[in-house]
Symmetry: C2
């Protein structure tokens, strides 16, 4: 993490006036991975793949991406909030999925959006849907565009409007008594936290995409955030939602809890833009933590470490962090020697010192053969392996485009499974991934594992894979062969195809196998009642 230009931008302050988002990769245009990091990456991966070096495809320029002409004309009443500007169209036509990064580097844009809309308020959203209905145009909601599963590009065969919510970016109300805030859906992570800060409050939802994703995107995709246990998914932080659909506005009540029929919010949460566009939500916030304790624990055996994690997850201690990395992943991230799995466990509170909690957590780790790192303790969260991992974690996605440019494919399987099935499930995915990499690329790659979240009944394993395509022409096929092999293993093993990345367009084949067919029927019918013409994100989650 030698690059201050990247590190500085991770703070809230620098985000107040963010630059332009990259269309070709992660983050903002002025966030540049320093040459020293690129050299480290090249030498490391050349050694791992046993190749002398890499051919580098140059970073694409927007003007190199050819777009077909827009198929719809912006009406006068929407001229102020719509654009066909080339850069905006390019930016909104790609997600940050590895497939899309491959397409960007190939200078291909098979399904460009026709018009990009930037509503200023909810009425603008209503007007945009009215227009879309008039001209039979598909509508794609766009938050920060950080989807890694093809969640923001339009479908083929139809004109499309990308509705970028970035101007609905305010925290509208703060209820300090109930610890809740009404927040517009287009608010980016850093801005959201900045606006809450003067009240001493925080949402504490820090997905890896925090800097370049929005509240509306988190809700629409069931994002996973800061906490490794308890309040992990955004689902539990939502108090109420407000959504514009083609048939009207759907607003739910602010309720701490309810037993009145199936939850309307739970229909909106995870709906990925197919039912409507979320414009705002009341979110459960909390006071900023003042007490903290963090420890790093080494395990000679990954599965023994997993047993410790299970004990922690079932203890009722609810650590805020409880993330284990297998030996190889810990080594890749500079946290260990390649022989030890590393568990980072942390507690935080705004109410009470957390040492009694941490004391018991250390005991549980030691009971399972863990070696607690010296110096782990109160206020140590920015030191040691825990601190190193935290910094590295937010930086990782910035490498993806540079790997793609060098013919390396890198992505993740992220899933969840009950503890009883975990070991076999993990081994099957890993082995399917490794076999597929060797088969399609002719050389060994890597599949490494960490947990992003843990529940009393099971973990959410996150398996990162890397492979090297001999030719840039093959990378898309190679990538998909590898992605598919392990995704098949996930579905066959009873897991979920996504714990927090969402379905988008790219997880659809496995999602179709995972979700009950009768639920798809019900969801399709619900969609038809709210979006009779089926214009909202067609092909995402379900077919018409």
């Amino acid at each position: 993490m030698a690059n201050p230009s990247v590190v500085d931008k991770q703070g809230v302050k620098a985000q107040a006036a963010p630059g332009r988002l990259k269309f070709w990769g992660w983050g903002y245009e002025d966030e540049i991975v320093p040459a020293s990091e690129i050299q480290w990456m090249e030498s490391t991966w050349a050694a791992r793949f046993g190749v002398p070096g890499f051919t580098v495809v140059p970073t694409p320029k927007a003007e190199e991406i050819k777009l077909s002409a827009p198929r719809i004309s912006i009406p006068t009443n929407l001229a102020q909030i719509c654009t066909t500007d080339h850069y905006e169209r390019v930016l909104h036509s790609y997600s940050k999925s590895f497939s899309d990064i491959i397409r960007v580097y190939a200078r291909e844009c098979p399904t460009p959006v026709d018009v990009v809309a930037l509503p200023r308020n909810e009425q603008d959203v209503v007007d945009l849907l009215d227009w879309a209905y008039k001209v039979n145009s598909a509508v794609v909601p766009f938050g920060g565009g950080s989807s890694v599963v093809g969640g923001v590009q339009p479908p083929a065969g139809k004109p499309s409007i990308s509705i970028d919510m970035r101007n609905l970016n305010r925290v509208l109300e703060i209820d300090k008594t109930s610890l809740a805030a009404r927040i517009q859906a287009g608010t980016y992570g850093p801005s959201l936290e900045e606006q809450l800060k003067p009240s001493g409050l925080t949402l504490r939802h820090f997905p890896q995409s925090f800097k370049c994703s929005t509240l509306g995107g988190w809700i629409a995709t069931r994002a996973g955030g800061h906490f490794a246990t308890l309040y992990t998914h955004i689902d539990d932080l939502v108090e109420s939602t407000r959504t514009v659909t083609p048939t009207g506005v759907l607003e739910t009540r602010r309720l701490p809890g309810s037993g009145a029929g199936p939850s309307p919010d739970r229909m909106i949460i995870g709906s990925e833009g197919i039912l409507g566009i979320i414009t705002e939500a009341w979110m459960r916030v909390r006071r900023r933590p003042t007490f903290r304790a963090t420890a790093s624990v080494r395990f000679a055996d990954f599965y023994k470490g997993c047993d410790a994690v299970r004990a922690l997850a079932q203890s009722g201690l609810y650590p805020s962090n409880c993330r284990i990395l297998d030996a190889q992943e810990a080594e890749y991230n500079g946290l260990a020697d390649g022989k030890h799995a590393v568990l980072v466990v942390a507690f935080e509170s705004d109410d009470h010192p957390v040492e009694p909690w941490m004391k018991r957590a250390r005991e549980l780790c030691r009971d399972h053969g863990g070696v607690v790192e010296e110096g782990s303790g109160e206020e140590s969260n920015r030191e040691g392996a825990a601190g190193r991992w935290r910094d590295r974690f937010m930086f990782l996605p910035y490498f993806k485009e540079h790997m793609c440019a060098r013919g390396i494919f890198r992505d993740a399987y992220e899933t969840s499974i009950t503890w009883d099935r975990f070991k076999e499930f993990h081994d099957n995915i890993k082995s399917a991934g490794l076999k597929a990499i060797e088969k399609v690329t002719g050389r060994k790659g890597s599949v490494t594992c960490r947990f992003t979240h843990v529940y009393p009944d099971g973990p959410a394993p996150y398996l990162t894979f890397h492979g090297f395509s001999n030719s840039h022409d093959r990378i898309m096929d190679d990538y998909w062969a590898v992605k598919a092999a392990a995704s098949d293993a996930i579905i066959a093993g009873g897991g979920t195809i996504t714990h927090h990345h969402s379905v988008g367009r790219e997880h659809r084949p496995w999602y179709d196998k995972q979700r009950p067919e009768l639920f798809a029927n019900a969801l399709r019918a619900a969609k038809k009642s709210l979006d009779p013409k089926g214009l909202l994100n067609p092909g995402v989650l379900i077919d018409p």
Copy 2:
């Protein structure tokens, strides 16, 4: 609690071979409220209403309830599992709502079920739905029949089959590693706990109806259980569900967490029988607690006590119990002098001593002016006000039919609201209730409050009301005038019409105002896709 015949039955053991359910009131036929308790009730309420005594309508006998002849004939293939037995038809035609108890005591049964079915397995449920579809009969799923909102009686104008799930009563699998169990939907509370006990596990879901309600009923109605914070609603304990619908079986995956589209389970949870019949579910269980601490805290001012509860709810301590009773309700239950509100706060764990948690809880209570009862501490949960309240709590519903027989109406408004609105909301409901009671009965009644559950963003207040109708002929009108007045205040104040009793037939008018119209449309469409003829619980939650 002088009556051993009732007290003994509350244990798990006595439940192994339960007797026959009462059709005229709460619990089982052999559970008799002792004469001394009845006398206490009579003298107490005569004094409160300022009347010399009560005219008592005798307990009805089944043969006094006249039923119209069944409109459908049981087909040969279902003869073994269907009956038109008079007692069974009577039992299944009433819920335990106060309206239904009035009807029972008036010997009126306006909408009797035609046939009662007792499936032995899932295939029987499938066959029963097939039959219902053939003869266009409404289907009403029946768990323990303990609904207090008219959740089990059939609609008018159509033949009906009540499907009683009591024979699907087994814990089928226990996964001790993941802490989960696969349980049939017809399993009653005590039997469920008895079957888990040899594994050292417990669901720890103890609604007031525990003895006479089932897992399937809890899931279908979004029941609230044992814990006052954190895992309160059954919603969070459900890992996966299996539901028979008229178009097939809908089974979800066992997943600790998922981000794959809107949650299918959350469509089933709270569906109140309109989408299908839940046959089994994988439930998150836990190890039986071995560490406990309980304290009772007195507050001179109810609202100051509520502030303490809010501090506890927002502390991250997650007490297992955190229930406050206002001064009058505490007095009615023999817990205090009528001048003090009483808060019961408790912690439990199977992993660690809970004294650090309790210590901080006591501090928070004292910070808000609470006086912690002497002797409150470890392992004191069966002593003091806390223990008295626990015993009384499970006994309360048994009084309802005896009150009805004496012209006293008694019921509850149970809701939830954010903390910022709580005081005004509470005052408005209470005042609407008291005014309505005085207006319609010509004499003062009571409306008292306790919290059943608390969340960081708000409490679930439970307001019990009592009024005395001068004439048995008026009790239905009086009851509804009072129920409606405060229910209107709940909806106007932004609350939910039900936090855990569910909607049933009786909360429908307010539920219609509460839930977004567009959600009703979506739910109606979803229902139509699963139940094209609209035969499952017609009129519950939505109209066709």
